[in-house]
Amino acid sequence: MPDYGNTWLVVPVYNEGRVIAEVVEQALKTFPNIVCVNDGSTDDSVEQILGTGAHLVRHPINLGQGAALQTGLAYALAQPGAEFFVTFDADGQHQTQDAEAMVGLLRDDVADVVLGSRFIEKTEQVPVLKRVVLRTAAAVSPTARRLKLTDSHNGLRALNRAAAQRMRITMNGMAHASEIVSMLARSSLRVTEIPVDILYTDYSRAKGQSLLNGVNILFDISLRERGGR
């Protein structure tokens, strides 16, 4: 099993006290370095995280998921030896195996950023490695310059150090996902996308984004960068 001592999982946490300890413990089996950013939760998330082996950063007030991600990245970047960064949802819908595959791509230096997608279908017949290489080639090739991403709102992302340092998430709310994608599209970073499994438990479904929230995201994005500094 590869050593993930140089990899940090960044987990934004907002009122996930019911599941966070379990999610963190599960992920710690693979990834020894985890930083949870408690975004002003009103439940017992902090106590739950303190009971685990994850690092904890506490926002004094609720700022939104985008802000929590940026804080977590800033914390992880400051840790000695940190090379790879994975953003991971706190509600248990992401799989550590998928995160491992993403970090593997970063490690092989075929991409700077790997995004998880729910919509690329997993064809079991094609060997994993071949499938990964094919998709990577497609995404990295100059002709596919415009990132043809199938899923821009997946919380599972892996970044190498150069990419993580470029992250400047300014949209505090949920619009940060689109912000990240458009930032990646403007950058010269090599971005690829791999299929990931999402565990849709009743818990995560209840917490998921509603259609109405999509309207909020569209509005935020349309006004982005127009606000004064």
Partner: protein
């Protein structure tokens, strides 16, 4: 026809001005100066409108608007738009500052907290001074 065009030009210019301010940087000093000038003119116009109500109607006629009241209404719409925009941008700017502040506090707090929770790790990998210099 030419008269009704005049008010249209005024209102469209106002809308265009809003758009430009929206897109361009907001907090620049000269923008603030213009806002103050606009406020001063607004006060003066107020005083005149109160002292000589018929003046508003005259101006309205000149601009091609039927009644003074209508002219005031049109300008009010512009003013409200301006106000909403100004408030929105001020909020965004405040939110950004608040985020920076909260992040700084959170990171500093986390340094102490996690150093205490994982003293062994801190011993193995002492923090490099790189962070302080940046």
């Amino acid at each position: 026809m030419t008269k009704s065009l005049l008010i249209q030009v005024v209102l469209l210019l106002g809308a265009a001005g809003l758009l430009v301010m929206f897109i361009k940087r907001w907090d620049a000093v000269h923008t603030r100066a213009w806002k103050r000038i606009a406020f001063f003119l607004f006060i003066v116009a107020n005083a005149f409108a109160v002292l000589f109500p018929s003046l508003v109607t005259d101006v309205a006629h000149f601009l091609g608007v039927g009644r003074g009241t209508d002219l005031v209404l049109y300008l009010l719409v512009l003013a409200v738009g301006f106000l909403a925009l100004n408030t929105y941008m001020r909020f965004r700017s405040l939110e950004r500052k608040l985020t920076d502040l909260a992040r700084t506090v959170a990171l500093r707090d986390a340094e102490f907290l996690n150093e205490r929770r994982f003293p062994a790790e801190a011993g193995i990998a002492p923090r490099t001074p790189e962070k302080a210099s940046s």
